[in-house]
Symmetry: C2
DNA sequence: CCAAAAGTGTTGTGTATACACCCATGT
DNA sequence: ACATGGGTGTATACACAACACTTTTGG
């Protein structure tokens, strides 16, 4: 048994960037802090890593605590460890990237944590280096959604192609040709026609599809070449 | 000033996966440990994060200590923090991914650390979760090299197109058509003809190119669509 | 009947692939 | 001269972008 020098120990935090989509805008789930430090300011949902949990477990715990959801899309994004990033103490923060379906999250729970869904472009200034974390996450979302079919994680179980298109237009902030988009999506064979129509429409009712989960898992790792260009590592 | 509970502190290590290419094989720079724990077994080069350094600085320090090199391609890959990953103590390890030009590394220094360049496919079993880290890194290399021109980081300042091709064939373990490869590379306008030829060849001498660093930096983030498919996150 | 949104078709352009052919070099 | 490897050309298929047209629905 070897002893490591205890002076090297640091705090390990986990911060979660939680994206949602309401049909028009991309949103972030942010917390208005009601305890020190930085009480009253906005931040990402986070917490310290517990001694008895793995990193992914910790992220799952934090997301569940805020939204009530368990089986969501959640992946590790980066680690931030600048020596002065948290003025309270040397802290290394593992940043997680989560995509959830807003309407499945527990409103009650969200409110009780003093959190809200905030439109991405209208987000407030965040504490510490959380602003940079969000910028990293937006880059990552654009990068990843261009190559892998993760967009579905932000929509409900059934969705229409026009809804999906609005999502991609929100992610990349560009208009997309309706006809080419539709054809490309249908050719992925990831969509299953439910036979139902979107009854909420006031004009022609769009077809409701659901995701073919088997094909989704098979095809997830294959490149998609979906959006022609994006940015960032 | 707020106090965080000190019991939550953990060790933060940095482990570096260092890739090289010798013209035929992809290689890893691995260390045969000469101190406990796991003395005599192979591992990645690593160390603890110092209290007065940022994470990227720590990775730079560790790579420099082993190779003597400073301005190399080095990016954060993942964080591993399974609660039992290091039996000595709860440790979170930040894994870095580095690409270096083998011939520029300091042989003396490498030897003095009990390290060697080992052909990727013939690597020994590594300690802790280092095997998984290497697998992650190979995936990442394939993924990234398919989209961004990082291959150049593994070749010398001047290189020939056939050399570059051998590198990509090693990365993806597939044969590539010489003519299409050449055309695709030349069309990137990342290559500058040095006017020199590879004098080591025994047949027709290939043209030596060097990287257009300005264009490289401009184009780095644009997708490349280089290899048709790869795998992984 | 008309406006607005959904669905389907066509066509041109560019990019990737699969080939064939010529050139330079050392033995 | 010939074997080996480097360099250039071309035809085909396929994917993508830019378009026009038809259908459904509520008012």
């Amino acid at each position: 048994m070897v002893k490591y020098p205890a002076a090297l120990k640091v705090f390990v935090a986990i911060d979660c960037i939680i994206f949602g989509f309401d049909g028009r805008d991309l949103k972030l789930l942010l917390v208005k802090r009601n305890l020190e430090p930085q009480k009253g300011n906005w931040s990402l949902m986070g917490g310290f890593l517990y001694p008895d949990e793995d990193l992914d477990q910790g992220a799952g715990r934090i997301v569940k605590e805020l939204t009530g959801l368990t089986n969501i899309y959640c992946e590790q994004l980066t680690v931030k460890g600048d020596k002065n990033r948290d003025p309270g103490a040397r802290t290394v923060s593992v940043v997680y990237f989560a995509l959830i379906k807003i309407e499945e999250s527990d409103e009650e729970l969200v409110r009780s944590h003093n959190a809200s869904w905030i439109v991405l472009e209208r987000r407030p200034d965040l504490i510490f280096d959380h602003n940079q974390m969000v910028l990293d996450a937006i880059d990552h979302l654009r990068y990843k959604a261009a190559l892998h079919p993760i967009g579905f994680e932000l929509l409900s179980e059934t969705f229409t192609i026009p809804q999906l298109q609005k999502l991609y237009e929100a992610i990349y902030d560009v208009p997309i040709d309706r006809r080419n988009f539709s054809r490309k999506l249908l050719s992925t064979s990831l969509l299953i026609d439910t036979g139902m129509k979107n009854i909420h429409s006031t004009t022609k009712k769009a077809t409701l599809y659901r995701l073919d989960k088997v094909r989704y898992n098979e095809k997830f790792h294959a490149f998609w070449n979906f959006m022609a260009d994006s940015s960032k590592s």
